[in-house]
């Protein structure tokens, strides 16, 4: 009964989405507050219903209800609890349900948190949101129903792929989806603004928190996915320019551009057309990512052609929303009045440059990802566009971004002083050059790593130059400086911290060039120097596991003759699936990592070992976390929430302290 209740709740959610998509829109046209007020209620109820459905599916997984085809295909009664749970979204049907759950969750959040948003805008936004969730609910129910029954039920399910049985994979998709789907809110706001015909600075402020939330989750989701690839694939790499990875990078780039151009719109009522366009673009790319991953077009263009039902459905959704919004855009765009004016050299100008570079780099990723698919569909030739392509296109476009980042932060609004700004950055430049030289002296070749490390220091230090100039000056006591620092808007701190996070990640990336890789055959007792450490292979022994045979290599890491740690890289052979997986041995020492992978033991007792010393590698992911933290701090800035402004006004009327 629980299962069918969930199934029914999902169907009911579709009905609610239809109500939400139509009646409030009508109310908004006619300016009828009662009809418009239906939108928040419908959104909240819809979320509750989808949550019931998701809960029912989860329950079916936890109790191994093999009367559901989806559970049979992706679960097994002997699986550990956490993988039964993550199995819910570790497959197509379940992950689409999670997608819609998060979509409905954001809709409900807007409904609850948007009481200060003008009713017109809120109702239209939720109506657009209703269109999106309606389309995806229909997709789930008609082509990918997780509640499809299998009768009579088999006695046991197929196991989940061992590679997918990993805690990282349990949280990675939800994080990524929170980001992907979060951009649906900005999209809905943009479509609503176009429908209502009111697009101004105020709109940008309503949208701001939603863009930030989506961006924060997407940043964390991408970082998490990259770390997962790093430690499970056993290849030492963390980014492969794989289409699935690119599918998440593209919305991130567009979303980052959106975040910045929305600032200009909010502050200066300028770049309106562009901001709306980016809001549409960010979500379109999220949809495209969903399409690429979910239609099977990546696995095989032919599979897509022979079993097109799902792919075509998603493609239709894609065309409907992208085409529809662009048509609206073309219709309404010309009506927009130009906003505040600014000189090319100004903070606005710098943000325009940032936007230009971000969207262009996004376009190159787009070409690199879709060109092989298009070519294969047209000519049948199969090509691979590997990392070299992206190194030649993406990297040159990003270098100017890094250079311009600190510059933009110190430029004034409206009209800036380039020379003055450059002077303020002299400190950052000196730190960058000295730091780069010191690192080059310490780590040696290659020079490019030192150059990029210097660049990253420039970004990190430059991120705080503006704030430092604000709080320091002329022999102030620390307490005054502290008071000034806390007096600054949180959003200023958020910006600085997020920018510094970019620099930190870049430093980690730059340092990959100083990594050491050793591939060798070792016998127990052999030792080898890897970077500043010495690794000894103590012994290799089998270790039995519940459903695999494991070969473990015990290694000791020494620094200056003293044993400081041990690692245990291993290989697991899963008997049921006849599959081998590699478990890398990882140990972090002051931001760098020793990474060890072993292969099977040779007949002469030797074992092939791959050892890496990766200096500062942890910074790549720490930087992403810092970026997300900066976003969160910026999000917490109450001054930038509409409605709270009224309280600020009251405060402003009191005499200044």
């Amino acid at each position: 009964m629980i299962v069918e209740t969930g199934h029914y709740a999902l169907v009911l959610a579709l009905a609610l989405a239809l109500v939400q998509a139509t009646l409030p829109l009508w109310g908004s046209r006619k300016n009828d507050p009662a009809l418009m007020a239906m939108a928040p209620s419908a959104a909240i109820i819809q979320f509750i219903l989808v949550a019931i459905a998701f809960g029912a599916l989860t329950w079916a997984y936890l109790t191994s209800d093999f009367s559901l085809a989806n559970v049979v295909q992706n679960s097994h009664s002997q699986k550990p609890l956490i993988y039964k749970l993550s199995g819910v979204w570790g497959n197509h049907e379940g992950s689409m349900l999670l997608w819609v759950l998060i979509l409905a969750f954001f809709g409900a959040l807007v409904a609850v948190g948007g009481r200060r948003t003008p009713q017109n805008l809120l109702a239209t936004t939720l109506a657009v949101q209703g269109w999106i969730s309606g389309a995806f609910l229909l997709f789930i129910l008609l082509t990918s129903n997780p509640f499809a029954r299998m009768l009579p039920p088999p006695a046991e399910g197929n196991d989940l792929n061992p590679i997918l049985q990993d805690p990282g994979l349990a949280i990675h998709p939800p994080l990524l989806y929170l980001g992907y789907v979060g951009f649906s809110i900005t999209f809905s706001f943009a479509a609503a603004a176009l429908i209502n015909g009111r697009i101004d600075a105020q709109w940008a402020r309503y949208v701001r928190p939603w863009t930030l939330i989506a961006w924060i989750f997407l940043t964390l989701g991408i970082a998490m996915g990259s770390y997962w690839a790093y430690y499970t694939l056993g290849w030492g790499g963390f980014w492969f320019w794989d289409p699935v990875e690119n599918a998440s990078l593209m919305p991130w780039l567009a979303g980052t551009a959106l975040l910045h151009s929305a600032t200009v719109m909010e502050k200066r009522d300028a770049l309106k057309i562009w901001t709306i366009f980016l809001a549409i673009l960010a979500f379109s790319l999220s949809l495209l990512g969903t399409f690429l991953v979910r239609s099977g077009v990546l696995t095989s263009v032919h599979a897509f052609a022979t079993d097109p039902q799902r792919g075509v459905f998603i493609l239709a959704i894609l065309v409907f929303f992208i085409g529809g919004s662009l048509a609206l855009f073309a219709l309404r765009g010309p009506l927009l009045k130009a906003g505040g004016i600014f000189a090319p050299v100004s903070r606005e100008g710098a943000l325009v440059l940032n936007n230009l570079l971000l969207t262009t780099s996004c376009a190159t990723v787009f070409v690199g990802t879709l060109y092989p698919l298009a070519l294969e569909a047209l000519t049948g030739d199969k090509i691979s566009v590997g990392p070299p392509f992206f190194n030649y296109t993406f990297v040159p476009l990003f270098v100017p971004i890094f250079l311009a980042m600190p510059l933009g932060q110190v430029l004034a609004w409206k009209r800036g002083d380039l020379l003055g700004a450059a002077q303020r950055l002299v400190v950052a430049l000196i730190v960058a050059i000295c730091g780069g030289l010191i690192l080059a002296a310490m780590q040696g070749e290659p020079v490019i790593s030192a150059v990029f490390a210097g660049l990253s220091l420039f970004v990190i230090v430059g991120a705080f130059v503006e704030i430092w100039g604000r709080i320091s000056g002329g022999g102030l006591s620390p307490s005054v400086m502290f008071a000034r620092a806390t007096g600054l808007p949180w959003s200023a701190w958020g910006t600085a911290i997020a920018h510094a996070g970019v620099g930190v990640s870049l430093l980690g990336l730059a340092a990959t060039g100083w990594g050491v890789e050793k591939i060798l055959a070792m016998r127990p007792g052999d030792h080898v120097a890897v970077g500043p450490y010495e690794v000894t292979l103590d012994k290799v022994e089998p270790r039995p596991g519940p459903n695999y045979d494991e070969t473990v290599a015990h290694m000791t890491i020494r620094s200056g003759g003293n044993a400081i740690s041990t690692i245990e890289p291993s290989r697991k052979f899963y008997r049921a699936r006849q599959m081998t997986t590699t478990d890398a041995g990882l140990r972090t020492f002051s931001l760098g990592q020793i990474y060890a992978v072993v292969t099977e033991q040779n007949s002469n007792g030797e074992i092939d070992v791959r050892l890496y010393w990766k200096p500062y590698v942890a910074l790549i992911w720490i930087g992403a976390i810092i970026m997300a933290l900066g976003g969160a701090i910026s999000l917490a800035d109450r001054r930038l929430r509409v409605g709270v402004a009224r309280r600020a006004r009251q405060a402003a009327m009191q005499p200044a302290e």
Binding site: Q73, N91, H92, E93, S144, N158, N161, L233, G234, W235, F240, D242, G296, L298, T299, S300, V301, H302, A303, D307, I341, F342, A343, P344, V352, L353, L356, L357, T360, S361, A363, T364, V367, G368, Y371, P372, D381, K382, I383, S384, V385, G386, P388, F389, F390, Y392, T393, P396, L397, I519, A521, R571, M579, T580, T581, T582, T599, D608, R610
Partner: protein
């Protein structure tokens, strides 16, 4: 500075960036892509020896011969042709006889190939996508389970 001039600067810089990006893309697409071949396609399309490519197929049963210093030779086959591959280095986890493989390297002669990397990334069914495609076209391979 007038509004028109400002707009010109904006459009000019936008075009400049786009132009550079397009140039970079064209350059990178010309020099940094590799084509994928199956053994049968090498026989039929006859690419010149020395061509850089990806070769995909199944590793023939019993064909893996390991030599000194991690060198290894094996035979990649599809339903029609076979090509022997030589490689030195560590092999990915899923490298096993009878399994699909993609090797990137240089064609030495129509029947031999020197690989400099053997790819480890496989899709959910543990069949590299290109290999599955090529084999499916020849009507050879049946997926374990229809993909959902």
């Amino acid at each position: 500075m007038t509004r028109k001039q400002r707009r010109l600067i904006l459009i000019g810089s936008a075009l400049g960036v786009l132009f550079v990006a397009a140039g970079l893309t064209m350059f990178a697409l010309r020099d940094n892509i590799v084509f994928f071949y199956s053994p049968a396609e090498i026989a039929s399309k006859a690419p010149a020896p020395g061509t850089r490519m990806r070769l995909g197929g199944l590793i023939k049963q019993g064909s893996i011969v390991r030599g000194e210093n991690r060198s290894v030779t094996f035979v990649v086959a599809d339903a029609e042709r076979e090509i022997s591959v030589s490689y030195t280095g560590l092999l990915p986890d899923l490298f096993r006889e009878g399994q699909g493989v993609v090797a990137e390297g240089v064609l030495v002669s129509p029947t031999s190939f020197r690989a400099d990397s053997v790819l480890a990334k496989h899709d959910e069914n543990y069949m590299p996508r290109e290999v599955a495609d090529a084999l499916k076209k020849q009507g050879h391979w049946q997926p374990n389970e229809p993909k959902k």
